[in-house]
């Protein structure tokens, strides 16, 4: 008679490898070097944190109408308070700023609606991608439905920064994908057009492109034909970002094993079907870190529009620093700018990490 093989029962892990104490031991005090680094880091924090807190919170002045009011020796946040609306909306007429707020609330509500299970996600996506931009445009620009017209030269502050960033991201992403596919295409003309475009744009600094968009293009356009400077700058930013996006996406496409392309071909899928259904979902998932990297870079690069005379968030802060009532508030201005940029960029980064986890299908066990 055969001996029946029975696997031994699984035992719980030893208590030294789980729990808070074990975590501290393994991560902070595992070796002499690690112990030294732990205490050294604590020392640095001890050196830096108290003075910063003292300056930013304890000794800070929160209210006042000029730099003269800030006598406590700490940060002069009154400067931010007085200029807050300008930092947010630029020179957008104060009575009309509700339109911007409304558009932002509308977007938050629409994106939030994705959490509702019963809602049709396809219609919602179409509403956000197609309907929302039109509504938002008329809200911002006005001139219809009795809304006062607001010229784009008055748009500024964080509003302009977010506008440039969001439109740049939303427009450059699909364009980048198409360029990446084109660059890997077997059709020689499509391929060379994409290669030339990508290599040309990548070889030029963004500042140059912005100058081209704002100064050079009007010179070449025929008399009478002129379009909005904001639009020109937007196109410049989008093209610039698309070239980088294309290379990120191409990296993802190259990482997909040949077998995936072959399996899709062997089933009789057309080129676009196999790209959209099989290759891109995998390739884009792989390069989420690179894509978000590009998005964050693009968002921060929008500050360069200052150079062509557009006052975005950072531009408004720099302009306010020249106010003779508030001379010497540069540090507060930049600290505020850094905080806001950090919140937005860190948010994007965390979102991308959660997206990566959500899309992970390889090692998940049910």
């Amino acid at each position: 008679m055969a001996i029946i093989f029975k696997p031994s029962p699984s035992l719980p892990p030893p208590s030294t490898s789980v729990g808070a104490v074990a975590w501290v031991r393994q991560n902070l005090f595992s070796s002499p070097l690690n112990i030294f680094l732990t205490f050294f880091s604590l020392y640095i924090v001890y050196l830096l944190l108290p003075p910063v807190i003292e300056w930013a919170l304890i000794d800070a002045t929160w209210e006042g109408s000029s730099k003269a009011a800030c006598t406590a020796g700490g940060a002069c946040w009154a400067f931010i308070g007085v200029y807050f609306d300008q930092f947010m909306y630029g020179l957008y007429p104060e009575a009309e700023t509700w339109r911007i707020n409304l558009a932002v609330i509308l977007l938050v509500v629409m994106v939030g609606a994705f959490a509702i299970k019963t809602i049709n996600k396809l219609y919602l996506s179409i509403a956000i991608i197609v309907v929302y931009p039109i509504v938002a445009y008329f809200l911002f620009a006005g001139g219809v439905f009795g809304l006062e017209e607001v010229e784009t030269s008055l748009w500024g502050g964080l509003f302009l920064t977010v506008l440039l960033g969001v439109i740049g991201i939303v427009a450059s992403f699909p364009l980048g994908i198409v360029l990446a596919l084109g660059r890997r295409s077997e059709m020689p003309i499509a391929k060379s057009v994409c290669v030339v475009f990508i290599e040309t744009i990548r070889a030029v600094p963004l500042i140059t492109i912005l100058f081209m968009a704002s100064v050079m293009i009007p010179l070449f356009l025929p008399e009478g034909l002129n379009f909005n400077k904001l639009l020109r700058v937007l196109i410049g930013i989008t093209l610039f970002s698309a070239a980088y996006m294309a290379e990120v996406v191409r990296g993802g496409l190259q990482a997909i094993p040949k077998g995936q392309y072959e399996a899709a071909d062997a089933m009789g899928l057309t080129y676009w079907q196999s790209m959209i259904l099989v290759i891109l979902p995998q390739a884009l998932k792989l390069v989420i870190p690179g894509i978000v990297n590009s998005f964050i870079a693009l968002f921060k690069d929008t500050t360069l529009v200052y150079i062509v005379g557009m006052f975005d968030f950072l531009g408004r802060i720099q302009a306010a620093n020249h106010d003779s009532n508030w001379l010497g508030t540069t540090v507060e201005g930049y600290a505020f700018a850094a905080l806001i940029y950090w919140i937005i960029c860190f948010g994007m980064s965390r979102y991308s990490m959660s997206l990566e986890r959500k899309l992970e299908t390889g090692h998940k066990r049910n």
Binding site: A263, A266, M267, G268, L269, T270, V278, Q282, L359, T361
Partner: protein, 259 residues
């Protein structure tokens, strides 16, 4: 195959040849990988292709659905010539299922979605119908309970059975197998071969590149031996194994059967 196609194929060949190689040559750069391949496969035939690595057996099989292009000669599949006409290629690919050495399941889709993708997008089958058919084939390969998992959660043998079911969902007239068991652990080879034997018994036209000589003996109608880009010998299994004509075939058999 539609009736007119069938009639065309019969007319052209005078028999039910479903795949026909005429003087097929292929090069990878300077490397002459297929040399004057002349071979025809009848409807319902089970062909096993074997040979040393680099002999061109995979390449030949992949020419049938034009995953590889040949440069000289003609290949007729279902009476349709495989050339640069994309319409023809896509039409033939609908009718030719393929199973790969490394399964090539789509890791971002569930098992069920892997199976319904081509029926829905290529055959335009309604989603519900495609899912019912997918479940039917998953049951046939005894894996229906895994339908909602992702490929990464399945063992190699299970993945390969899913890949076979995925091919069958397009209700193909021909199934190509490119070393379907070479990447599997020994314990999993049998479960995949069982599915293939079952398929063969149902009369599917099969072209199978494999080194499983047991499978070749029991299932194949003809065994094809290739070396250096040529078909050295093609014969019925008992003739092929018991009485090989070429000394190259004898050497190959003695090496893989007596290790």
């Amino acid at each position: 195959m539609t009736d007119t196609n069938m009639a065309r194929a019969q007319l052209a060949q005078g028999e039910e040849a479903i795949i026909e190689f005429n003087d097929v040559n292929k090069w990878y750069g300077d490397f002459h990988v297929l040399k004057n391949i002349n071979f025809s496969i009848k409807k319902g035939e089970r062909i096993v292709v074997c040979g040393p690595s680099g002999s061109g057996k995979s390449t030949m099989t992949r020419c049938i659905n034009r995953l590889e292009e040949h440069q000289k000669g003609t290949i007729l599949v279902d009476g349709v010539e495989m050339n640069n006409n994309l319409k023809n290629i896509e039409a033939i690919r609908k009718d030719v299922g393929m199973v790969f050495q490394h399964f090539n399941l789509f890791p971002h889709l569930t098992i069920l979605e892997n199976l319904t993708l081509a029926p829905i997008w290529v055959r335009k089958t309604p989603k519900k119908e495609a899912e019912e058919m997918a479940m039917h084939y998953l049951e046939r390969v005894k894996i229906a309970n895994q339908a909602l998992k992702y490929p990464g959660q399945l063992s190699g043998g299970q993945q390969q059975r899913v890949a076979i079911a995925r091919g069958l969902c397009m209700q193909p007239r021909i199934m190509l197998f490119d070393e379907p068991t070479s990447a599997l652990d020994p314990e999993m080879i049998k479960e995949v071969l069982d599915v293939m034997v079952q398929l063969a018994e149902e009369g599917m036209t099969m072209v199978c590149v494999t080194h499983e000589m047991g499978f070749a003996k029991t299932v194949a109608d003809r065994v094809v031996f290739m070396d250096a880009g040529e078909i050295v010998e093609a014969n019925e299994p008992h003739e092929f194994f018991d009485n090989p004509q070429h000394d190259r075939t004898q050497m190959f058999l003695s090496q893989i059967l007596n290790h």
